[in-house]
Assembly symmetry: D3
Homo-oligomer: 255 residues x 6
């Protein structure tokens, strides 16, 4: 069966109908980047697509799902084999041309759901530039994990926690357990004492913000202890994320 | 089960192993563009991914499959709703940064398999620029349908034949029949008499080459008569394409 | 008297000495954009420069202050006369070339202190791109008001509060009272009820993030009630900001 | 005497008249690149200009000849002294701005005649981008030698044959014999056995397409045996090319 | 007190009034670059701002002063610590976006006053490009010292004279004596005999023009003998410059 | 016969010899732009090529002549049919890539001789950027008419004089009389009284510099009275230009 909300699985006439219905375009975005010894390079897109599918199910007929953007802004992971990065300029151009193409057909509201935090800044920059160049477009974007603060806190994650750690691994155990090598999961940096001086400064202060390469933050690319993640935790996190994005979309007026 | 040849489903350590094995990176590329009343916007990527999966099966362990590039260069279809186009500059940047990222990890040979002919010129341009900027990279690219000349001829296609016509529809009936609305297939422009003067000039001469928008060539975006396509024809075409690409890869030396 | 920590007021030989001492370069960044009926277009830079001067005084000899970047990314204010905006591409290029020029002379640590939140995303993007192109550079950036959460909360600001509101006006009353026309201060949008549907959605959800033009958010460009600000509040906010940035710089190791 | 069809030799008023007549603009494009020991760096432009002059003579008053573009996309020849290459981005910009400038004066049809195959891909890319940015422009382009398949086959060229080989040398002997050093002509790579493994793969398969530098394909930069070329062969090839381009132009309607 | 002609010190409503009055926007531009052992890196902006302030005082109410551009095109000084350079592309983008932003609010006439000759060429290039992209804008630019030929000649400068020499030092002694370390002023290259062969060629011929790095022209970055400068000379030079710019502005009609 | 100093007429081996001899590369640059009712669009390149040929004859074996750049920066003439303009960005890219290509083969000294003053600023900008990106390159450029001040003054030109006026027409009467329609020469703007207010301001002040479109300066695109030009005047001007450029090249040391 086709998924009737996926743009790639619509004909052009179905697309025209979707415009006429005033749908919002959801765009999953990921990264191809290291996720430690036990998770796969495509982890971020798997999570974004999983969330978008659930949101789309909640809002059947009111959204369409555009093709995923599978590679993103990942310079901080380039020391780890398999990682691909786009410059921020190129990632921005992809998003801008994707969205403005669809705007020519009549869509006005777009939500990029990114499984990768490295894309956030560029998504904001694109939205800013569009305010002047295409005032008829409303471009929103959403992260994943940070929408589920309570569920993540319930995991009681490690003092240093983040990329490929408890919360991210939990989501994967829920969404795509076949892509988690549970036997290979290894803890990464879990305490501030393990960080070198520069990394500790960067982690200590959310702001001022200091961007560092991940090989400096963690020898195996992991922040936190993914062995502590469970699928149940992941289900709770995903549920919270989906609820937040769904609520946003339900509020967002067409005008 | 994971597909062990998909880069997105490898860990970073598996990626390092794949580099060490001297694998070639295969990259499916598509388009999101109109394919007439009966086929879906994502048709080109579906076909590229289908071919790549078969090639990869033939060459297990000797290739890896990178993330697909789902949108391409489709300005000629922009009159039809749902089409997305990147400028040639942006599409080139995506391919270049994708490939050079992986080259930093040690890969040297790349084959982009594009289901969309509108990407061909830009792929050549990227390969040219890399000769100077990254002489250690060998970037090849391949189309689909034109590799299967005999099998297409056996279809006895319409005098005007091409986009969304007999050969392309046949491939989809073989690769993804659930994405073909056979009840909605309609013939497009099938004879030179139906073309306007400019379109006839463009079709009459392969060279000089004149690029025209598809709404000028065909009212419904189709060239040929997709109703005449069969899954058997498609199987023959796909088989020929896969054989040609496999043969190329088997010959391509690592040095 | 010259200010010995300002790069523009050093000779080239003094600059060489500052490199040899391992100084951090502080770069104030602002915007030229509307700040409502009572505050001036240059407000953001005035605040950034005020903070930087105080931080530099705390760390005499350990930092140098580079020339200010007086215009930034302000597309959301372009409906209001006098606003200047750079595209994110151009703002990024300025920061990148500024920083890489100084890196050629030996500096490795840079902190951009931006009085304008519209610059934040681009600063992050620049820092990301530098990880690959110039791994020897550490580029940090800092906002202002969000470093002083407690002091701002103590103001008991309006339910809708932000640009040109209580907290920003307070800072100006402390740092540059001659640039605040207290007799012309007017409340802007102060409650969610005053927002239109789209604006309410955007303000309701910090994430997903929806960037809107300010003329949609507020008729006079103000969020909050600047009449409620006092210089004392501003002093507390500035003190908190300066303390946070100073602490960051004291921790930041040279290596 | 002036050549009345050359734009560079018209006054602005004559140019205005040429627009009013509905002329097509012909643009010769070349390369500055090695052509082996016996032919000159400017060979490609000499051939393009020779063909264009003959086409223009056939269509007097219906075409104008714009200034030649003397350098093109030649990264594959950069190992040989004297070669100049533009990036594909820059070559594209030159063609685009050249054509759009003339479009502002009212011209709508343009034919770039390129003596250098390395320009082909970029010319297609420019034509694609113009479909969206300048839908009023029709940009066609033409190669040379590939228009004369029968005449080239009649030469019975070497098994490996191409750049600076029999067919190209023949054209030069006809068009500009003073620029061929017949005493210095040397055979280059003429058989597949002389190719290394990678080059053989690339030549064996027209598609997939693998672009290689010429110093890998041939020690002296030549493919084929130019000593076998005659001016008579060249006359036949040029005649065929001119006929094909003339026929195209005669068909191309103004609308 | 605020300076009522400084855009940064106006509210958005005052800016709207300034547009309505038909004011010209003056933009001081500088450089951050070496000025020898005795003058500061910011010398060029200090001089530009000093001149602009005097011009604005002459034309009160008829001009507004935009934010200064503090860094410019200084590649020729990059061998000297502290110098920052923008590429010409980036400097051009800053000027273009600055000016076109203000043009959206209604301003049409702009004068960039540059204290740094390295910016001249790019300012001309921006003005050229704007003729096509924004025909409603008139962008003028002015240097400083070359407007005061007689006053400079009266100084009887050294045979080789220029950057950081008599005339520039004199201006600084008049405008900002606290930024001149008179005890550290040292002569630089003062005679043609001290130049190497290439530098002598470049200085001998104003045209053809050969741009050289300053470390080749002078060991300490100075051309001329700054010790011979006096504040009185500087006053005469500044007076002449201000008079010339004022006269230009008085003539420049609004239409 | 071939012209042995033209790069386009050399083989790659001859090019290698020319590098080894330490030759300077001369590059003629022009424009395709209106030159009034009596002179042709390509006038500027004709003059540049004429001068370069004479300089090359003076310095046989010490220079090579690269392909001409036939279109340049001519936005100010776009109101007149037939004019082509490149953006300054594109013209810069062409020059930069042309020169850096040849630098890879070993050339280090380049002189662009431009018959069109609109190219001057961009040529300077390219030379500036190369100081940082390619410090091994020395890029000089030269105008034409301004090198012959005495010879032009001897013409006693009109009070308003310049583009397509006495001095330029005289050069063409000497260099390419067949391209001057003497029967169609018409005076353009010859006195300040004929200028509108803005044009008068721009012409009155060489500095500040205000760039205006030519249709504002002159109804027929001419400044001065070309009917007063003679071939003898042109010979004197060309002789002076050639002497100045030759002298520069004779002085320019290889190191």
């Amino acid at each position: 069966m086709t998924a009737p909300d996926r743009l790639a699985e619509m004909t052009t006439r179905e697309a025209a109908d979707a415009v006429a219905r005033g749908t919002v375009v959801l765009i999953p975005a990921g990264a191809l980047e290291q996720h430690g010894p036990g998770m796969v390079l495509g982890t971020d897109l798997v999570r974004a697509e999983g969330v978008v599918a659930r949101v789309a199910a909640n809002l059947a007929g009111r959204v369409v799902v555009g093709p995923s953007i599978p590679v993103g802004v990942s310079p901080h992971h380039m020391a780890f084999p398999g990682t691909v990065t786009l410059t921020t300029t190129t990632f921005a151009a992809v998003v801008r041309e994707y969205v403005t193409s669809l705007h020519r057909h009549g869509w006005t509201r777009f939500l990029v759901v990114t499984g990768h935090g490295g894309n956030n800044a560029t998504l904001t920059a694109v939205a800013q530039d569009l305010l002047v160049s295409h005032p008829g477009i409303q471009l929103a974007w959403s992260p994943l994990t940070s929408l589920a603060g309570d569920a993540v806190a319930a995991l009681d994650p490690s003092p240093v926690h983040g990329h490929s750690g408890e919360a991210e691994t939990a989501q994967m155990l829920h969404l795509a357990p076949h892509l988690v090598h549970t036997d290979r999961l290894e803890p990464g940096t879990t305490t501030h004492d393990e960080l070198d001086d520069v990394s500790r400064t960067a982690r200590h202060h959310a702001q001022p913000t200091l961007t560092l390469p991940y090989d400096r933050l963690s020898a195996n690319g992991v922040l936190g202890d993914p062995r502590r993640a469970t699928a149940e935790d992941g289900a709770a996190i995903v549920k919270a994320i989906v609820a937040r994005i769904t609520a946003f979309l339900e509020e967002w007026p067409a005008a």
